[in-house]
Symmetry: D2
Subunit: 344 residues, 4 copies
Amino acid sequence: MIIVMKQGATPDQVEGVAAHIRELGLTPHVSAGEERVVIGAIGDEAKLRDRPLDMLPGVENVMQVVKPYRLASLAAQPQRTCVTIPPVSPGREPVVFGDARVVVIAGPCSVEDPDMLLAMARCVKEAGGRVLRGGAFKPRTSPYAFQGLGVRGLQYLAEVRRETGLPVMTEVMDTRDVELVAEVADVVQVGARNMQNFNLLKAVGRCGTPVMIKRGLANTIEELLMSAEYVLSEGNPRVLLCERGIRTFEPATRNTLDLSAVPVLRRETHLPIVVDPSHGTGHWDLVAPMARAAVAAGADAVAVEIHPCPERALSDGSQALLPDTFAQLMRQLAAVAAAVGRTV
Amino acid sequence: MIIVMKQGATPDQVEGVAAHIRELGLTPHVSAGEERVVIGAIGDEAKLRDRPLDMLPGVENVMQVVKPYRLASLAAQPQRTCVTIPPVSPGREPVVFGDARVVVIAGPCSVEDPDMLLAMARCVKEAGGRVLRGGAFKPRTSPYAFQGLGVRGLQYLAEVRRETGLPVMTEVMDTRDVELVAEVADVVQVGARNMQNFNLLKAVGRCGTPVMIKRGLANTIEELLMSAEYVLSEGNPRVLLCERGIRTFEPATRNTLDLSAVPVLRRETHLPIVVDPSHGTGHWDLVAPMARAAVAAGADAVAVEIHPCPERALSDGSQALLPDTFAQLMRQLAAVAAAVGRTV
Amino acid sequence: MIIVMKQGATPDQVEGVAAHIRELGLTPHVSAGEERVVIGAIGDEAKLRDRPLDMLPGVENVMQVVKPYRLASLAAQPQRTCVTIPPVSPGREPVVFGDARVVVIAGPCSVEDPDMLLAMARCVKEAGGRVLRGGAFKPRTSPYAFQGLGVRGLQYLAEVRRETGLPVMTEVMDTRDVELVAEVADVVQVGARNMQNFNLLKAVGRCGTPVMIKRGLANTIEELLMSAEYVLSEGNPRVLLCERGIRTFEPATRNTLDLSAVPVLRRETHLPIVVDPSHGTGHWDLVAPMARAAVAAGADAVAVEIHPCPERALSDGSQALLPDTFAQLMRQLAAVAAAVGRTV
Amino acid sequence: MIIVMKQGATPDQVEGVAAHIRELGLTPHVSAGEERVVIGAIGDEAKLRDRPLDMLPGVENVMQVVKPYRLASLAAQPQRTCVTIPPVSPGREPVVFGDARVVVIAGPCSVEDPDMLLAMARCVKEAGGRVLRGGAFKPRTSPYAFQGLGVRGLQYLAEVRRETGLPVMTEVMDTRDVELVAEVADVVQVGARNMQNFNLLKAVGRCGTPVMIKRGLANTIEELLMSAEYVLSEGNPRVLLCERGIRTFEPATRNTLDLSAVPVLRRETHLPIVVDPSHGTGHWDLVAPMARAAVAAGADAVAVEIHPCPERALSDGSQALLPDTFAQLMRQLAAVAAAVGRTV
């Protein structure tokens, strides 16, 4: 931690800050510049992190030196984490997030009925997708909108999982539902609106299932890593990070997909990186170009929404691809993956 | 709902949209302009709200005519809601949010220990504040930061409430804790990070306690009203709305306090409006000017954080006022309230 | 400047940075913490400001210690600047920005015709406004929109100025027009879209006329001060800073008026602060509450738009007040100003 | 234009709006829904665009039906524009923006000295770049920062252009310099800060040289197209649009590169699309992944900054690639271009 003193801060004020640092168990290192005094605090910066040192007399501002995440940081674990989903049934291959093969996750936004879900799962599998996504519990802005099939939706997911052998990713919205969801899901999803629902993060951190955390609409990349830190520090090392768009002033897209987050995360963390161009753009015709761009930027996985009849979808139909368009996208992704030395 | 067709949309496409509207139980009203056809859907717009009509062939875009909130809207209830907190003990006055008297809510960010809490409650009361705030469950970006005293914090709040007669506002973060918190709190707070934790909104909607919903950092005013709608539609009409800053590119403040939300909410809803300049700015020296501005803009209540020794606070010390500064602010607020025809 | 080295940076890399600092004429001050080395550069930080020290091997990041503005900073000039507009005709009072009396600037968005301008100027004067604003050169998003009357508009302003004795504020958009505009205007306005039109800033810095710089929609407060620095460093000390809303995700208002900028600027600079709630909100019914809030927050001046018949205005009619509403607002502002120890 | 009346609007108010529409030369089309009346204005919407119809009594809000850009729209010109730069010297190939071959533009941020510029131009050419960029006039946040070599910089560009045969792109910041810059430049650049410097847009619209308009940090895609409309409507059809990052709350990157703008622009306009990942990210190590992503998303050109010794660059060194890294990026871009059916 570096404490910059105000111009004209008195020796007493400098000593006050130094004493405060000592009291917290660190060593102050005072350095008098031309215009002002700067104090470095040598020792475990975490002890100072929540202390409002800027409230001490004479302090102008306080700057962190060390990143606040530890377990999630590449510095702490220089080897990339591979999150492996074991085969759903014997004889199948596991799905590995974080190796050279890019994982494509696909499925309908909501689980609407068992037949449609099965049909979509078969499309995903046939086209080369390796994980089925589908929402049973749906966070909706309006209380009057379709809220998902809930437990029944989970059952349909379990059946289709068994039937097709595709591992399943689905969202959990409530601490009370974590066990229930984790029984069915191969990957539990924490949605963007719950990225800082810290009790939910702790709860999924305590269950053994892999977790995908979606970046909140107003959250920085550092905060996303801190949310991962909640899960990791509870003992669950199987965390995927998902960029799905942030909120900006631009109205042409539902959100602004921040693809730069992909190389930034690659520089900062060992955890695998997923991109969701469906929620990131909100319009089906932008999904394919942004999925290609995600793979070109280095994403480990891409998650897209599909629907047999988007204009009749119960949620987010505008961003859903038709099965044919999805199959075409899979071929494009294979080509782009090859261009960056990977496969799909 | 108004559906704008693409330039050159065919008669078949127009009829397709019209048929779709009819199928959903509304009446299409086709209007051919010079450049393009526009179709109005006459009937209950709510039935169309989640339907991705933009996915139908020939559609360019779709525009809502009716606001998506009903119970929260001023159109639905033209008389302003007063949320009344009954007296904590016999002989005291109730606290009313939404009448001519501006309510000041104050207290420490976190409940740290019972003595400090009691001391702060006395300062609040003495200076003219009418509700005590203090966090027992604390949402923190880092898992390594102080997470609040939890149940013990609630107990301290209950004791100080009894001791001072001040009603208490405290945050609930988890659906599992709603009952526990509602037993102690006179107002249950749903924090900014949980504004779209819809299960939590439903749960506080089912308990009878007044609820203050804080606007999320990336949430629009319309979304704040939709979150209120969750609580109202579960049968709890006692909802306060709190502006506490949104996230923007400006680094000089922790958030950008969007005071325009005050008159916008006043135009849109009958619910009382609270402003939190402490979280809204993040710096103690900006709290007083912005609290004054909030009252001048028409807020029904103001919530500020105080601490006996901000540089030792366990959370958010940088934005806490000293008791003396708070007392001084109370005098300023009284003057500004008088200037806009209110009292404090 | 403080240079934080990467964890594991080699002694050679540390020495490389130190040598680089010495080469630029400063003194390195190396401080080895537990996790990493931090290097302070003692001397004139301005010499390092544009140097990409983060490109040197082993550097993690670089932090500024000193604010980049000098002439605009309160540290450099602790006494507040009063910008005085001399009386338009003998016997009148000067208008002073920055003293205890809050200045109200008002007028139509565009100069449309001489009669309307004169009528509006009389309304401004009668209600207690002290500066007339009106645009002759209009920056418009669309090339097909009304672009202002240009030179003819300036002439009308000059006539009405003479007629009423009200000093005039009007915008300059082009370096080629600075002289022309400065001949007529008592205050030259640099609009939000030109806040970083650096040649224009230099040009108005070279003319003696007071300048009001409006904050750009995507510009930080620090950048606003740097734009002031352009004008100040060219020798023109008569600079007003205007907050008029920044661009955020919120669609309920045209922009998000960042009133916190008022106390932030007061802490950082000696220059007078103006707030424009008309452009800041974009809706006439939000103008009065936000104008009151601006005065409560400490603004030295408020600028509002008025029009005799807003629905026929050639630009920005939606945010214009009727003369009656303006007169009513003036009375409200007087009350709020009194509450914070000022007059209008 | 569609005018939505308030719930409870009177027949007189409806007739008032209808009369106003007729007066402006359009035909009102009144449609009474269940909850409210909606009025369509049939005719040339442009006539209504600047009219504040929301100020008429009884109006709730007003919605545009037609996009405000005409010449820039794909609807107006369904065939994609190819902007061709004629060969610098006989025997060379022209450079075409908008065909199957992706154009790479590269060079130093600032022209610093003639030798460095020539060396960099040779690197660009050797690696397969086809346009040289370099700034002679530099917009800098601080008046104390290096402001570019100005006219001397233009001369160096002219010499290196002659020497290497590479066409040159450079920025113009001032209406007074347009002719001067256009004499040397094959493409004149209007920078992000000047995207809404409308006089500058008109001036470059009047010169015959191709123009690249960079998106402003707070500007929507629609506004970028409106700025293009300024140039097009002055008679210059040779316009390139450049995405270079918008301002958001995320501090990890200098700006947030909005790559979704690429497919959005492709859907809306016939003009070629350039992406600048150097300014878009601000960090050299993010440039290559985002340049690859830009090509995968469908960009027609990519502009990157290079420098022989970034840590000594006079501007923006942190985002400059070394010549070797640039050459490597060119090979990557060739692979990605091939994957999407293009070449470099």
